[in-house]
């Protein structure tokens, strides 16, 4: 019996020890980490940096909306679509009647900030572990952040920035919109770091190179009218970079021309993975391509789409006689139907023209659906021709112009376009400036650049419905203004 009592006593001690045990509950509650890698415990090896970098490239695919909507905003095209109420956000921007309530602008805002944050995620953890070649990952991350920030500053003007890392809940109420100049300063720093740490060839096709960063920096300078700096960095690309103009302008926009000799930076797409309307930004395909396709099309070479972003007659008339680029850039659907027997239906604001560079091509039977959303056409974000024309503009507009160089670069583009040098430009000064502007419009039509070229050169009023002093930038989405609780004010005029 005595023994028995002993056992009971031991039991009581054991039970009371439970209370003590429970007192160490802090550690107990903390121990769950092993079961899920979370964002803050990541970056422990080179492969972690690589994986996060892939994640930071991913939102580039959502820039389809920047290209599509940017082109619609310009005087190159009309919104089109099925009817006047098909994607109201596009229709309003086409008519310059857009307001802070615009679902598509809200998408662009949040998708680009998604990109900023993914790049900033790597930058935030850049010092966590060391390994050889880490600088390349950081350089690419900074290139990507510059790319996304540049898109945001182009669209919205002053924007919130956070150089040290990601935005967190509450920042919208405390971090003010930085003036454009400060945003550009951050972009320039990011790009200079990228230039210093990248080489002209990347480990994989699709990744940013030194040339990508230089060309983007040149463009960023151009947007700030820093022509001297632009001329230096752009000439550097031309002289030191591996780029040559692809002889066949048509080839550039076909699948065979992807990542070609004139590709300075290219957004990569594929159709091996499916996509749906509920998450357009999740598509691995180029959503803009399906949106721009010919409605109800059946016939050779192309497949059907939603007939958005249709070029106007005025745009088509910009091509000079003998310009080989016209039939590559513009699909005259009536002529095409007549010659090939293709059929199609007409959508809203039908002009008879389509953006041939980026309409759906016929593709493999294994392409994953929804086929309208998974077109694999890469977006040639920065082409060598763009670099040449930017260089030409920089040399023409710098403090002490060098029109000779400007003409050389301009005419390199024109020689390819016409197949001869008899259409070369010989003018100087303002006439040369105008020629360069004209050349940019026709060379780059359908690629989403024209609206911003007009605005940065003070020619926004060329766009029907454009209000100077207002429409140079787009409104901050109303919801964002509300989330900021007074921290951000709306752009002038909206």
């Amino acid at each position: 019996m005595k023994k028995y009592n002993q056992k009971i006593k031991l039991g009581i001690i054991f039970i009371t020890s439970l209370f003590v045990l429970n007192a160490c509950s802090d550690d107990y509650l903390d121990d769950t980490k092993i079961y899920a890698e979370d964002s803050e415990s990541y970056f422990n090896s080179e492969s972690d940096y690589y994986n996060a970098l892939v994640g930071a490239y991913d939102p580039l695919q959502s820039t389809f909306i920047n290209v599509l909507m940017g082109e619609i905003a310009s005087n190159n095209t009309l919104a089109g679509g099925e009817s006047a109420t098909d994607v109201p956000g596009y229709q309003q921007i086409d008519d310059m009647t857009h307001t802070p309530i615009n679902e598509q602008l809200q998408n662009l805002w949040s998708w680009m900030y998604g990109g900023v944050n993914r790049a900033a995620y790597i930058i935030e953890f850049q010092d966590k572990v060391d390994f050889s070649g880490k600088a390349i990952y950081i350089a690419e991350a900074r290139f990507l952040r510059a790319y996304y920030n540049f898109e945001l500053v182009k669209w919205f003007g002053d924007i919130p920035i956070k150089p040290e890392g990601r935005f967190v809940l509450g920042d919208e109420k405390t971090i003010a919109r930085s003036p454009k100049s400060e945003v550009y300063q951050l972009i320039e720093e990011d790009l200079k770091f990228a230039i210093a740490n990248l080489s002209y060839t990347a480990a994989q096709i699709g990744r940013a190179t030194k040339g990508s960063a230089q060309a983007l920096l040149g463009k960023v300078y151009l947007f700030q009218d820093k022509f001297n700096e632009a001329s230096v960095v752009l000439e550097n690309v031309i002289q030191n970079g591996p780029y040559v103009l692809e002889n066949d302008y048509n080839k550039i926009f076909e699948f065979s021309g992807e990542n070609g000799s004139g590709s300075v930076f290219e957004v990569q797409y594929t159709d091996v993975e499916g996509a749906g309307f509920t998450c357009l930004q999740c598509s691995e395909g180029n959503v803009a391509v399906g949106y721009q396709g010919v409605r109800g099309y059946q016939g050779d070479l192309f497949t059907s789409g939603f007939s958005f972003n249709v070029p106007t007659q005025e745009m088509v008339d910009q091509f000079e006689a003998g310009d080989n680029r016209k039939d590559v850039a513009i699909l005259d659907i009536d002529a095409w139907a007549t010659s090939t027997g293709a059929s199609y239906t007409t959508g809203f604001e039908h002009t008879g023209f389509f953006n041939r560079k980026y309409i759906p091509r016929k593709r493999s039977v294994n392409a994953a659906g929804d086929l309208n959303l998974t077109n694999p056409n890469n977006y040639r974000a920065i082409r060598y021709a763009d670099v040449l024309l930017m260089a030409a503009e920089a040399f023409n507009r710098m403090t002490t112009p060098n029109d000779g160089k400007a003409r050389t670069y301009l005419n390199m583009v024109r020689i390819r376009a016409f197949g001869n040098s008899s259409n070369n430009i010989a003018s100087s000064g303002q006439a040369l400036t105008d020629a360069i502007y004209h050349e940019r419009r026709v060379e780059l039509v359908g690629e989403g650049h024209h609206f911003f070229d007009l605005v940065r050169t003070g020619r926004g009023a060329n766009i029907p419905g454009f209000t100077s002093g207002k429409n140079e930038v787009f409104p901050i989405p109303l919801e964002e203004i509300q989330f900021s609780q007074g921290n951000w004010s709306q752009n002038t005029g909206y």
Binding site: N22, L29, S62, S110, C279, E480
Partner: protein, 1000 residues
Amino acid sequence: MRKLISLIILLLFTVYSFGQSITVKGVITDESSGDPLPGVNIVIKNSSVGTQTDFDGNYSLPNVSTGAVLVYSFVGYQTIEVTVKETTINVALKEDSQQLEEVVIVGYGKQKRKDVTGSVSLVNEETLDILKPIDATSALQGTTSGVAVNLSSGAPGAKINILIRGVSSNTNNQPLTIVDGYEGDLNSVNPNDIESITILKDAQAAIYGIKGANGVLLVTTKIGKKNKAPTVRYDIYTSVQNTARKLNYLNATEYALVLNEAYGASGQVLPFSNIKQLGLGTNWQDLLFNDALLTNQNISLSGGSENIKYYISASRTEQEGIIAKEKSNFIRNNIKLNLGVDISEKLNFSLISNYFTSASEGFDGSLLFNGLNYAPTFGQNQDDTNNFLGIEVINPLSLLKNTFGENKGNGIEGNFSLNYKPNDRLSITSRVGYKIYNEKQRSFTPIYDYGASKVYNKTQSSVYQFKSTSTRVNWETFATYSRTFADNHNTIFTLGTSVQNDLFDGIYATGFDVPNNSYAFADISLTNRQSEQRSFNTGNGDIRLTSFFGRAQYDYKGKYLFSGLIRRDGASVFAKDKRFDSFWSITTGWKISDENFLKDNKTISFLKLRASYGTLGNLVGDNLYRSLLNGEGTYVFDGNLVDGVAQGRLPNPQATWETAEKLDIGLDINFFEDRLTIVADYFEETRKDLLIQDFPVSGLLGSGSPGGANPTVNAGTSKNTGAELALNYKLVNTENASINLAYNVTYVKNNVTDVLGGAFVEGGSFGIGNLAPSRMEVGQPIGYFYGLVTEGIFQNQLEVTNHPSQAALGSSVTSPGDIRYKDINKDGVIDFNDRTNIGKPQADFYMGFNINAKYMNWDFSTYLYAELGKEMVRNFERFLPNVNKPNYYLGRWTGEGTSNSIPRLTNDATNNKLFSDFFVEDASFLRIQNIQIGYSFPEEYTNGLGLSKIRVYTSINNLFTLTKYTGFDPTVNGGAIGAGIDYGTYPSSRQFILGLNVTF
């Protein structure tokens, strides 16, 4: 001590001094079974002298003086007093069911029902016996006040939702379920094994702290009785089930006429030229619904000896589905072993265990939707090859044929408990509860072409497989110390600790190109190994809780009752500085009927006033404070897809649990010797820090990225106010006959009082392309329907012209025969700003009415359930020109004065299909849940067979529903925001049951 000894001596002396002393002997038996009862206490009244019966029920007590009174008492039996006249006294003790019923479990302890100061309901095994639920949850519907039960679907094995005193949260409203001390679920417990379900509805549940806010169900399973001969009970019932309702849809002829009219109105070519030959066409509902069988068998063995009590049972339920019989079957097996062992007088051990397996088949939720919308002019095996019905509507029989899936689960749950009682005052319990559940899913999608461009089309077959194990372990230790001071001051102190860990481990995979396009080969190992799409993933979770709790109870003469409790919880799912909180409550009661002025009242036999107030938590979500790398970070390098990583849902380091503040004021009053009992309660609950998933935040934070999502934010407050009343009346209560009537009613009003940022949160979906129909908004109930208000039909062009333009709604076409919308904000334009509150999915009132009657060997019962003041959204119509339609279109507008409620038929784009009150229906209902009649064979007959009881019965479940709602089932509901939207959900079945109970 010396005092005590002298007292005993004095007492003994007193006994001696009265008359002659003798030795009393006898046998104590159970009155009903005649079995001897060991362990019965026999004490000489007013003394501490006594003895106990031995294993055969015999006792012997020497030195008893004649004329003394012997008190015979035994737990669970009525106490009897006998005056000593002779030396042999045999006593037959009567079981005291009344006394047993009066004890309720209140969380880490028991209380006499009459001493309870919180709001508590009880559902006992008799109710479960009558209702024969497949899932014991459904037995709570209508049987107890304050509890609403609704189905997520009527499909066999589907989840049943319980709401205690209304919806408060939009994340989780399910009460905590504690089965014999471990956290479990009702759907894995065999209802036959349940002895009682206690429902804690108010702040008394604060003893469960962070998990108590939605109320607590305390389930007690049977464990047998000590000193009771083995009893075997066998139950079997079988039932034929069918659908309680089919919807009135157009037959082929009506359908063709209606289509022709719509095409004609739009100036299009008529699709049907020869209507006469069409006849009735195919009735898809008739083909989809079938009669189905349901059988349940249950066998149990229970009893006990001096030191052991036990209960063992096994059961099997097989339920066929009333739709898609071969594809929605459900099987559940249970094996239960409960054991209680007295290791010594002071130490007791118990083991509770429940092993269960379940199997159900895959079932496509859109089957009925397709069944309603598919055209009656198509033949049974005819697919819509030419895309006549749009891309989302397909032949339901083809869909059924191509639906393959299974879901199998098995698990074991229970606890080990050790109880040590060193003396009468102190009791220490330590127990380990556990639940291990393994689940296995497989679904196969074959290659099939349902017709041109159908979204269901598959050009590649795939098989999805999923395996998971969930493990929950809980270790609780608590001590109870009770003591009475100065005779009248009774106190009980409880102090305890609890540690819990919930683990989840799962692996998911999808393979493509299943050999032979056949379910027989649907296994990932056989699929195409080269496929790029082949995918594998794992999921895991680890949730930890640690708690301390304490409770002090005090009463003065059992008349004035107070209790206070506190629980401190820590939960790993929140950020480090947000993990701990304390919850508390105080309850108080006053037994007025114990006061002198009421003590001997002939009318009022019991009267108690009680009140409680406290705070409780609702633990929802996991990892809200941190971001997992489960976003989509896929890009293309070198022409190939490369999977990177990206953050998923945005973290919210500030996230914390929801907190409820509950107030309850109640009155228990019994009349006429407790024949009429009334329990009335008024309650208020304020639920703060409501966790709202996917709460809209600035795009700056990057939630718009692929695979990203908005964070879960504590962003609202809601308030429930209500009252409940439960009446029970024993109309007749004689030896041969009894009639018992019970009625309960609950009123709940929900009101959202705060949403972060002053905005609203929306959800749910209606049709395609419509704005979200459900909202959570300040000043409105959670999940109310937000849409346009109709004001009849435009009868002529003049009315159209005089009415504000409806063009801003999307379609510029407004013609006579179209719906006229009300200009709610009176701005002269009808647009989406004219939307307003057009209904709510949660009822104002829910109530139950039950009758139980017995006469001689016959028994009869019926259960009614009603919900009043709720609406549902008819969302099973696909608005396309050629799909089939409900037959209300036969009463459509066809010219001035023809209809002022059903719009015209046209194929033009109109605004008639926008979300408006046209699609919101009154879904109040009254349902006869159960009606039953049974007959127990007389004893003479059963004894001859060596049985103690045979009962046969027949009953009907879900006999009849009185409602204006035109959908399948007004009880099918769902969560908070987005609840009450009917997508054509599987209705609950009507069951015709025949059953037999045998006991021996």
